[in-house]
Structures are given as structure tokens and as C-alpha cells.
């Protein structure tokens, strides 16, 4: 099996938020805002020009069963080919890519929105996502699981808490220059390590805070992409992968889902050495330690080395391989599955901005899942 690389490009990306709360707009209005911004970048009329619309939402986060019903209107998809993919945003984008390569679409739109602020007792949601019979009892709102994983990772690779705090300091600091980063902040490592302990060794500053936001991306097939814009950002490779849903059966120190997804994406892109090929990465840092895990799973650094490399400043904004220039979720907020599209939007703008030509975007579905995706983007 083989899927061709660079058959489609991201030609536009729009967002609304992210914000800590968004009472001024309903979710429909928020998504409409993101969609309108995206479409106006390339002058397309979704009512005529878009062949496929993919929405990315979960019922219980929205508070509406069959939330797919509410997807079409605000992205211009009324009475069009619309579907919902309940996965992270890059998995949804991959479906659009395949639709384009299969020849059933030339222009596809991917949308995801979330209003975490509207879910009053989120902790119940995470609990509800766990196995009802043998896992739910012990793992509360999911953060105990995050703590278990963090400790396992620290133990397996002799990583200290300070190493992990550095990631939070870096990303929250990066966010200070990003107008989208509501949760940016200037921290010293000490301040981060003295933040409130949630579940040892997990501390408050290491955990992204929930946010509201909407992101809409426009994907176009090769020929159309060149007609629509002078600077398409090409999909070199994409992959998505799931590890077992049984928490106790997972290798908690390795992000297997990211490894599997990366393997798929690199094979498609023809990349053998991702550290050499790529120039930057936007990775999931919902929890600070996960940035390190994800970088290793992506093969950019050797297992257990990401902490050293971060300490040396190689992943800092002026380092040799900047990671989460945007500030990541730690600075922009945790948007759940929408986060994948936000990371993509950030990477898209970084490449468009001219500083870099080739980057990797990685996403994770969040607690308590072990699924995620990887996308390789190039100019």
C-alpha cells in the first residue's frame, strides 16, 4: 500500500479564539467566524467550491447527542457532503486528504470547535471515558493517569522534575509573543516547580488549562491548490494510530500512538531521518512531560534524550530545532481534539511566515486515550 505525497495542500486556515471563556459567541457563531476567516484567505465560496466538509467533535463535550447534526451550517455545508470524524483534527484532515487522492473531492474543509468552558463538570467527562468495569474506579478525572505516566517516564529515563518544568517554562514563555496564547506566562523553573501539586509528581503549571476555540482549515488538491494560492503548504505525509485502550497494558513511558503515526507519515513522505529533514515541530504538550515523550516517539530525539536536549536549549525558539514556537497547549489552552487543528494552523503560519520550510505536527487525543496523529508539512 502506498499513498502519494504532496497530493494536497493546506491553502487557508482560520480560527476563533482560543479564549478561556467565550460567552459572546455561540459555538455556531464561533465556528462561522473561523470559517469565514479561512475562506476569505482564498476567496472560495463554500456553497459552491467545497466538495467535502469534515467536522471533528465529540457528543459529550458538546452536550448534544448526535452532535453531527449541528455541523453543516456554520461552515457552509448545508445540504452538502458533510461528515463527522470523532478523532483528533489531524486524523480528520487525513480523511480529507484521502478523499482528494481517491478523486472524490478537490477542495475539502476540516472544522473543529470546542467550548470546554461550557462543560461545568469536566472531570466527570474524563472519568466517563474510561473502562467502566476495571479502570474507572481508580483514575478519577484522568489526572491520576497523567501523573502515573509522568512518574513512569521520569523513572525509565532518569528525567528529573526540573527537566519537565523546563518544558512548561519554555512553552508558556513562547506564548508571550503569540496573540492567541491566553495562558502564556513568564515563569522561572522554581516558580513552576512550586506550583500547586495536583497528583504527585504532576503540578498545576505542567497541565494545560481548558479553553474555547474553533479552527477551520481548507485543503485543496494539487492543481486547485496552485490556483488558489501562491503559497500552499503541502502535506508531505500523514499518519494516525491507536494503542490499546486498556491503560494497564500500555507502555506508559513511550507514546506508541505517536510512534505508529509517525512511521506512517514518514513512509509516505519518504523521510528516513526526521531530525535532519524537519526544521521545527508543533507537538502536543497538553501535559509538559508529553512534549518530551512525543519528541522521542517522533524519532527526532533518541528515547530518554529529549530532556537533555531541552535543557541545552535546542528546542527553544532560537534553538537548532524549535518545538512549540506557538507556545503549545500550555500557552494557548487545551482544546481537546480541536488542538490538533490549532497546532496545524500554527505550523501553517510558521511556514508561510518564511522562517522555515519543513515541519512536523503531532497530536494526541488527550486523557485517557492512546490515539494520535502525525503530519509532515513542507513548502
Amino acid at each position: 500500500m502506498h499513498m502519494k505525497s504532496r497530493e494536497a495542500a493546506i491553502v487557508a486556515a482560520g480560527c476563533s479564539g482560543p479564549l478561556a471563556i467565550s460567552p459572546h459567541l455561540s459555538y455556531k457563531e464561533m465556528t462561522f467566524e473561523a470559517a469565514r476567516r479561512a475562506y476569505s484567505q482564498v476567496s472560495i465560496d463554500p456553497r459552491k467550491d467545497v466538495d467535502s466538509f469534515i467536522a471533528c467533535e465529540e457528543d459529550l463535550v458538546e452536550g448534544t447527542s448526535i452532535t453531527d447534526e449541528y455541523a453543516p451550517d456554520q461552515m457552509g455545508g448545508a445540504q452538502r457532503s458533510v461528515c463527522t470524524v470523532t478523532q483528533d483534527g489531524i486524523n480528520a484532515l487525513a480523511q480529507a486528504y484521502m478523499q482528494i487522492v481517491a478523486g472524490i473531492a478537490q477542495i475539502a474543509v476540516i472544522e473543529s470547535h470546542v467550548k470546554m468552558s461550557n462543560v461545568r463538570n469536566k472531570e466527570l467527562l474524563y472519568n466517563m471515558a474510561m473502562d467502566p468495569y476495571i479502570e474507572r474506579e481508580f483514575l478519577g478525572d484522568g489526572l491520576p493517569l497523567a501523573a502515573l505516566e509522568m512518574r513512569r517516564y521520569m523513572h525509565a529515563y532518569s528525567v528529573s522534575e526540573e527537566d519537565i518544568a523546563l518544558v512548561a517554562v519554555k512553552n508558556k514563555g513562547n506564548g508571550l509573543t503569540n496573540p492567541r496564547a491566553t495562558f502564556a506566562g513568564a515563569y522561572t523553573t522554581d516558580e513552576a516547580m512550586n506550583s500547586k501539586e495536583i497528583w504527585s509528581p504532576l503540578r498545576s503549571v505542567y497541565v494545560s488549562k481548558p479553553a474555547d476555540g474553533a479552527v477551520v482549515l481548507v485543503l485543496a488538491g494539487r492543481d486547485r491548490a496552485r490556483q488558489l494560492t501562491d503559497s500552499p503548504v503541502w502535506i508531505e505525509g500523514v499518519g494516525w494510530f491507536s494503542d490499546t485502550s486498556y491503560i494497564a497494558l500500555r507502555d506508559l513511558e513511550v507514546a506508541n500512538y505517536a510512534r505508529g503515526a509517525a512511521r506512517m507519515a514518514y513512509r509516505m513522505a519518504g523521510i528516513e531521518n526526521p531530525a535532519k529533514w524537519a526544521q521545527f515541530a508543533e507537538v502536543d504538550d497538553t501535559l509538559a512531560h508529553k512534549e518530551l515523550q512525543h519528541l522521542e516517539a517522533l524519532g527526532i530525539f533518541e528515547p530518554g534524550e529529549a530532556a537533555e536536549v531541552t535543557k541545552k536549549g535546542e528546542t527553544a525558539r532560537n534553538g537548532s530545532f524549535p518545538v512549540n514556537l506557538s507556545g503549545g497547549s500550555l500557552a494557548e489552552g487545551d482544546l481537546g481534539d480541536t488542538g490538533a487543528l490549532l497546532r496545524t494552523l500554527e505550523a501553517f503560519e510558521i511556514i508561510r511566515g518564511g522562517r522555515f520550510e519543513r515541519g512536523i505536527v503531532q497530536s494526541w487525543r488527550g486523557l485517557p486515550s492512546a490515539s494520535g496523529s502525525v503530519m509532515v508539512l513542507g513548502e
Binding site: 467565550s22 460567552p23 459572546h24 459567541l25 455561540s26 459555538y27 455556531k28 457563531e29 464561533m30 462561522f32 469565514r36 475562506y39 465560496d45 463554500p46 456553497r47 459529550l60 452536550g63 453543516p72 451550517d73 456554520q74 457552509g76 448545508a78 467550548k115 468552558s117 461550557n118 462543560v119 461545568r120 463538570n121 466527570l124 467527562l125 472519568n127 466517563m128 467502566p132 468495569y133 474507572r136
Partner: protein, 168 residues
Amino acid sequence: MGMTDNTFPGTPIQPDEWKGNRYFFKEAEFPLRYSWDSGIAISRFLQGLKEGRILGTKCFRCKRTLVPPRAFCERCFRQADEWVQVKDTGKVNTYSVSYVNSDASRRSEPLIVAVIEIDGASPGMGFLHVIRKIEPSEVHVGTKVHAVWKGASERVGSILDISHFEVY
């Protein structure tokens, strides 16, 4: 009636087996709570209902008057342009008589539910509501109805500020 055949797998449980504690069951309850941001359009619609009026929005391009109102026209994919007040009368687009509650238990009295096309909005524009004080057999597609509002002090900004519709 029915067939027994072991071509397809599965272990059906009969209602008496379930109630009789023959198998293990895990029970759980999740009282998920939400505060949905109403945003621009619905907030204004609800405010209008509190004031005893039904509001709609107009799209200048397709020229429709939209009820329920929205901030953008989904047909033209552009912002809605103007707020208007429409009438609180209308006609039945379609209706039904419900004998069950949402949990499938039987209602003590049947309830007439209908999609009401609102006068003053574009044809076909309307919303779901209930019709009371009439025998089901006297309601038809096209029957004219009018809103019956709760008293001003009882209205809170909700679709239930209209208590029900009645036939003229």
C-alpha cells in the same frame, strides 16, 4: 415465530433474566452539566421572548426572514443583516399526537406537537412547539394557530415563555 440458528453469535438476555440478577451489571450515573453560551442571535431571540415578541433575522441576499433567527444565513453563508419582529401567529406545517414521554413511559394525556410556520417569516420558517385546548382530530396541516404567552412576570427568556399555541 422467529428462528433459532447458530450462524450468528450473540447471547440475548431476556427481561426476566436481567431483572433477576442472574448476570453481573455495573451501574453508573453521570450528571453532566453544561452552560451553553447562547451567543448573539439566540440571546436576542430569548430576550425577545421575554418581552413577549418573536424575532427573526433577514438575509439581504436570499431575502429570507429567518425564524429561529441566526447570526448568519446558512444558505448564502454570510452574516444575517437585520433584526425584525414577526407575528406570534402562524399555521401548522405538520403535527403529531404524542402518547409517550421521552423515557418511553406512557403519558397520562396525549400531547399535540407541531411545527408552526410563523406569520411574517419566510414560507416554511418556524419552530417546534405544542398545541393545547383542542381535540387532536381537529388539527390539520394548515390549521391557523396563535401563541399563548405566559404572564410578563413569569417570562424568563425561554422558548417556554410561549406557554403553548391555540387554534383560532
